[in-house]
């Protein structure tokens, strides 16, 4: 069993993939499978899937608007929380404050809700961007339920 010192990662996975729309589903399913190592409820797993989907979709549409690029997604289990870092090396965001506003989108066909969903569905969300160099989103989420209630995947109903 892992020891938990200050903020040591007990486990991590990193996904590196092309910025293609068809990889968005792959990314959220993979992260959901990894997140299942913590005692998240099914509803929380759904929220993590939406947040992952939004962050990766943004890299695909906004980060690399005219070309294919590499998206990097790292997930860590840190002190019982899930930490997600989603990174592209694309065009970046010129005006971060504007980007964060609900319903703001540089694409008239889009709703401008991606960052709002990431903030609502995760406990913490930070976004950093350098125009011309890329964007990184870091999100964390902690299971609300106590570990005890949800370890049934690990525990047996020993009913003798």
């Amino acid at each position: 069993m892992p020891e938990q010192s200050a903020t040591r990662s007990d486990n991590f996975v990193q996904l590196t993939f092309l910025s293609k729309p068809e990889n968005v589903a792959f990314a959220r399913v993979a992260i959901a499978a990894f997140a299942a190592q913590l005692p998240f409820t099914l509803e929380e797993i759904d929220e993590i899937k939406v947040a992952t989907s939004e962050a990766v979709s943004n890299c695909v549409i906004h980060g690399y608007p005219d070309s294919l690029g590499i998206v990097t997604l790292r997930a860590d289990l840190v002190d019982g929380s899930l930490r997600l870092e989603v990174k592209d090396e694309g065009v970046g965001i010129a005006d971060l404050a504007a980007a964060k506003e609900a319903t703001f989108s540089t694409d008239p066909e889009r709703m401008g809700l991606g960052l709002v969903f990431m903030e609502s569905f995760m406990d913490e969300m930070h976004i950093e961007s350098a125009p011309g160099r890329g964007t990184t989103v870091v999100m964390t989420k902690r299971p609300t339920s106590s570990a005890q209630e949800n370890v049934n995947d690990r525990q047996s109903d020993h009913e003798l």
């Binding site: 968005v24 509803e43 989907s53 939004e54 066909e109 969903f117």
Partner: protein, 112 residues
């Protein structure tokens, strides 16, 4: 994403299954818009989401886009069978306030 379309009078019922996201949204848009173009008299759009297990903001975006389209011809739109795992994004986005949810296709077809 899988899409089944049925025309009932002046209503277009779209039964969707699977996931509505960045990848599948364009196909959804295309198929609905094709049908709306083909049948100019359609003035009611009913989306049956019973079999949809994932929707994100890209999915909401095409739904809102279809709503604007049907409104531009003075029509109406309804959502049916939104299951709990996707209801949250509809609530948070405010889409439920714009596009009413009904309990069944029948009910949606009969409302005005």
């Amino acid at each position: 994403m899988k899409l089944q379309l049925e025309k009932i009078g002046r209503t277009l019922v779209a039964r969707i299954s699977g996931e509505l996201d960045l990848e599948s949204a364009p196909l959804f848009r295309e198929k609905i818009d094709e049908a709306l173009l083909e049948y100019e008299m359609i003035n009611r759009l009913v989306l049956n989401l019973a079999e949809v297990d994932f929707v994100d903001s890209s999915g909401l975006g095409v739904i809102l886009g279809r709503y604007k389209k049907i409104r531009s011809r003075m029509g109406s739109m309804f959502l049916v069978n939104v299951n709990p795992s996707v209801a949250k994004v509809f609530e948070l986005s405010g889409l439920f306030k714009i596009i009413p949810a009904k309990d069944s296709e029948q009910e949606a077809i009969q409302s005005s």
